[in-house]
Amino acid sequence: MDGVHDLGGRQGYGPIDVNEPEEAFHEAWEGRVLGMVRSMSRPEDWSIDWFRHCRELIDAVDYLSRPYYDSWLQTYGAMLVNSGVATVQELADGKDRGAASTLPPALAEAQVPDAAAAPVLFNRPLSDPPAFQPGDKVRAKRHRHSGHTRLPQYVCGVAGAIHACHGGHVFPDAMSAGEDRGETLYTVAFQIGDLWGDVERPDDIVYLDLWESYLEPL
């Protein structure tokens, strides 16, 4: 979707706070959100792509103005309501009004160290060979669909070159709609001067990781 989250190259967002303190969490509640997200029980058909899409669907002003982990809370709240696990009213006052959860069990404290050391893998075997090879010229497709996609607007219609091929990876556009299937993932190199008209050094490079169906041969 052409949402407000798709920020690459947008202008007018001001300077960066380069002097931010370095500690992990600036407010205690931030860590609580992260901890909940990492350990709560959840419907089996949630995915990180569905989460990302639900986050993209936050009202634009809220998306831009709320603290980061607050937007996670908003997103998980919406996912819980959408899945019928909680109601808006329950999220508003924190009081359970439903039956006991029938979801898979929550992560127990003792399981945290193992969970924290387990990488999640997104590669998926594919039977078909990749359509492109490193060095091939490609163009990112101009049109996107209204659902979740990881093809940013700023490369749409722009020509680049395949930098690397990573084999099959979970295709987010499908996964966010509940379908776990792989598609070949590439790293694609774009000359920054092809992306924007007013750059300092046109031969600087921006790399993006893009799936095969985002690309067309050139």
């Binding site: 960066i16 969490f25 509640w29 350990s39 607050d70 359970d96 700023y154």
Partner: protein
């Protein structure tokens, strides 16, 4: 398991409704009904999940402690320092970042498809996630807030040199900037250049001067300061 997508658990066929319209509407309702302060919203959610038996408060504490103490940029700094001292490890890190993370005992959230990219005299790398906030958490810990702001996400791919200037980085004329926009599940780690005058330093000494920002790419020249020097 912490994973939202969990390979170890069989996918069920039960389908939730994936309706953008419906979720957008729920967001508007939450906006109208939830408490005004983030801390209060979080408290309500935690109370609710505990009441429903959907979260173990001790597990939350454990995650907070992990990310506050154990899982942070020190891990990345150790990997960088080792890569500086051990050419074979650097090779492994560049060719298979995920395996290098396992070798260091740093596997975890975001290490499964780790890609290390090395700076050089004519190359400066810089990492961003324009679409959300992807970051190698297992290696660098919690990303700084600025990394997640609209300003950084918007500007890094359009005016990386202006962003670098804002961070105090000066680039020599011959340096090319390479920006890595983390649009998939690959997670990028910048290997900064080893500063001159550190030939006789230990890995621990070296690790102490590798900053988090240098591994994101918003810092370049690491100085051999008293912090790391002997």
């Amino acid at each position: 398991m912490s994973g939202l997508v969990n390979k170890g658990r069989a996918m069920t066929t039960k389908k939730i409704e994936h309706s953008s319209e419906k979720v957008a509407q729920i967001h508007r309702e939450l906006h109208s009904h939830l408490p005004p302060e983030p801390a209060l919203r979080v408290k309500a959610l935690e109370s609710l999940l505990v009441e429903k038996g959907m979260v173990d408060p001790g597990a939350i504490d454990a995650w907070v402690q992990l990310y506050s103490e154990d899982i942070g940029p020190k891990r990345g700094a150790q990997m960088v320092a080792k890569a500086w001292c051990d050419a074979a490890f650097k090779e492994r890190l560049l060719s298979d970042g995920a395996a290098a993370a396992v070798e260091m005992g740093f596997a975890g959230w975001g290490s499964g498809h780790l890609k290390a990219v090395a700076n050089g005299p004519q190359v400066h790398n810089m990492v961003v996630c324009t679409l959300c906030s992807c970051y190698p958490l297992a290696i660098l810990g919690i990303p700084p807030t600025w990394y997640k702001t609209a300003a950084y996400r918007a500007r890094a791919v359009r005016e990386p040199r202006a962003v670098l200037t804002e961070f105090g980085v000066e680039l020599a004329e011959e340096v090319q900037v390479r920006v890595w926009d983390s649009t998939a599940e690959l997670r990028y780690l910048v290997i900064p250049e080893r500063p001159a005058g550190t030939d006789d330093w230990s890995e621990d000494q070296l690790a102490a001067i590798v900053s988090r920002n240098a591994m994101i790419g918003t810092e370049r020249d690491l100085a051999p300061t008293s912090q790391g020097g002997n």
